[in-house]
Assembly symmetry: C2
Homo-oligomer: 231 residues x 2
């Protein structure tokens, strides 16, 4: 009998922000897989470390983060092949995901490759934007307001179109686009309330207004724009 593949969200970084379900599924897994990007240590793995049993097989998966699309596809294909081998031999595999597995996670591409042949389940995890809003103590949605997650990699026009109809926003993947995003926000009158949260829920967590950021932002930074005056 084949094993089950579980995509397990471990939340934004603080192990206490894992759910009991994530802990239980990770603890029951024969194989624990996680992405190691460009040789960096896996954030999801360190978050979940205490939940992993000593006898579980660790399956680190190399994933080039900024590679060309073809290299990315090849890496997912290879990862799917390695996971397939474990599933076919009856081992349950937990694939660790930062935040939630279905929000901008690598698990989405593994699920697409494996769900026709194997049982796949998803254990949701706390998305990082919720942890960011919590440390800022800023509401993201009230009454008829709309909240959205928008990648900062979008070109100016697309970014503007999305920000214009949302009352509160989390801008992810801002990194090298921070200055350009700030200019778009300024044009919409949203810059003054834009806050940057770096490495949320970890020891390196830092908060600052976007207006004080001189250049680029690090990869694990999120820009939170809380809703303005009550709707």
């Amino acid at each position: 009998m084949n094993g089950t593949l579980s995509g397990v969200g471990v939340g934004p970084g603080d192990p206490e922000l894992m759910t009991f379900l994530a802990w239980r599924v990770i603890g029951a897994a024969d194989v624990v897989a996680f992405i190691g990007a460009d040789g960096r240590p896996s954030r999801a793995q360190s978050t979940a470390a205490a939940a992993i049993r000593a006898q579980s097989v660790l399956l680190p998966i190399d994933m080039p983060m900024r590679a060309d699309p073809d290299a990315g596809q090849a890496a997912y294909d290879l990862a799917a092949t390695r996971i397939t081998r474990h599933l076919q031999e009856g081992r349950n595999v937990a694939f660790l995901c930062e935040g939630d597995p279905l929000l901008y996670g690598s698990f989405i591409y593994l699920m697409a490759r494996l769900q026709d042949r194997f049982t796949v389940e998803v254990v949701p995890g706390l998305p990082s934007f919720a942890a960011c809003a919590a440390v800022l103590r800023q509401p993201l949605g009230r009454r008829s307001e709309s909240f959205g997650i928008v990648p900062g990699t979008l070109p100016d026009d697309a970014l503007r179109a999305r920000l214009a109809v949302l009352d509160s926003v989390a801008i992810i993947k801002a990194g090298r686009h921070a200055s350009r995003i700030a200019a778009v926000l300024d044009g919409l009158g949203m810059l003054e309330r834009a806050m940057v949260v770096e490495e949320v829920s970890t020891e390196r967590q830092a908060l600052r207004p976007l207006t004080t950021v001189p250049g680029d932002l690090p990869y694990f930074a999120t820009i939170i724009i809380p809703a303005g005056d009550p709707a």
Copy 2:
């Protein structure tokens, strides 16, 4: 010394979808407060039941759900007064919130009334949309896609403007607006992939395509529109 007020997200309903931090903060609270709407039992309270110590004071707060705005404001004022009394006497208060405290929760209005006088902290919780996407095994965000939470109570034009720029959407508060929302989605070519999730992560959980819903939806239903073909 005054007590601390904590807004604690307990997630969508399954107690296993609580975080360890939520469990710890609830267990350490002298007073556990929660909304009881129109005499209905509190969903957040039953989710968190096992985390509440026997010696904690329970503070149910009546909140009319569909009352006129003035009655709602008066109810929040009264709740803030009752919580103030406990905080002033040095008791820590955990206010239980379904999902996440800062996404469409009553806690937002209590925080606004109390944060100038007392220490307020927010413990984020798993938003219900993430649990909905998990049971559907449908991605909400890939690469440069945008995801949003949009209240179904918005008028058609506002709803259309938001849906048109989002790749994936969770429509909340659909209830009595389900047929109207379906018509708007149909016009945008998004109806066929719209799924309804009722009472997610509970024993009463049910999934069905929005096209099969003849009329209204219950209050605890979310419409999930996953992203279409990969961006």
